[in-house]
Symmetry: C2
Subunit: 150 residues, 2 copies
């Protein structure tokens, strides 16, 4: 099944906005219209496996949306690196259940967009839980934790 290709995204920002709109509205066709239809797109959900290829990525979003529970995703701390055919944004996603009063969960995301014949499309979404240093914890201890895996 191919996603609807009605929309073109003339800039990376347009594609990014469409991505987060589709995310919040749990709209699978709109979500997949943002992704490049390629076997080499990569999507890593927080604590999830590394998914490669349009079909695997679509299946993951289908299951996330089918699980219900609409989310609010506010992006902040955006850094962008833009070229003529590749653009990258790193953001902090503040994720919360819509209507919830709880503090949002911060997620680090790196989004990569490519200029295709169909306009700018998402080719990588890499999201991981963000470690927020506790006030009482000396910053010096953070790299030691990072060192466990790195």
């Amino acid at each position: 099944m191919k996603a609807k290709r009605a929309k073109l995204f003339p800039t990376p920002d347009d594609a990014s906005t469409a991505f987060y709109d589709a995310f919040e509205s749990a709209d699978l066709p709109a979500m997949m219209a943002v992704w490049a239809e390629s076997d080499s797109v990569v999507c890593i959900h927080p604590r999830g496996p590394r998914l490669v290829g349009f079909d695997a990525v679509r299946d993951s979003w289908a299951q996330i949306f089918a699980a219900g529970g609409r989310l609010r995703v506010a992006t902040t701390d955006v850094c962008t690196f833009e070229g003529p055919s590749i653009a990258v944004q790193t953001v902090v996603e503040m994720v919360s259940a819509q209507g919830s009063q709880e503090s949002p969960t911060p997620v680090c995301a790196t989004n990569v967009f490519e200029l295709t014949e169909g306009g700018w499309r998402l080719v990588i979404h890499h999201a991981s839980p963000m470690m927020v240093p506790e006030a009482a914890e000396p910053e010096d201890e953070e790299p030691a934790k990072a060192h466990v895996l790195h």
Copy 2:
């Protein structure tokens, strides 16, 4: 303190190779020669905070290298997206202690390189622990886990 700028990296692959060589040899000047000297570079170590800016990134690598314990980092499953001024590679890093017989720990990494006046430089390194599906676990359950944070 500025890092040594002796080396130029004519391609993104050259910069990537230098990054992983510096990582394995715990060579801070070589590591920081790969990074763009910019306030907007971003580095996320596995389970670590989001570090922004050359100085914060340098400090993190200094502390990681000072902690000792040389690592072996083999990269696999590389997907690349290259433009004339921005290039992105996503890889799986198989990380282990040098000399250790234990199984390596898989880490998902997204590396973004920018063509600067000083050749290709690293501007984003986003690494996160890779979830490896267990053989006995149905794949259908993975997105439910991802949904916890996404």
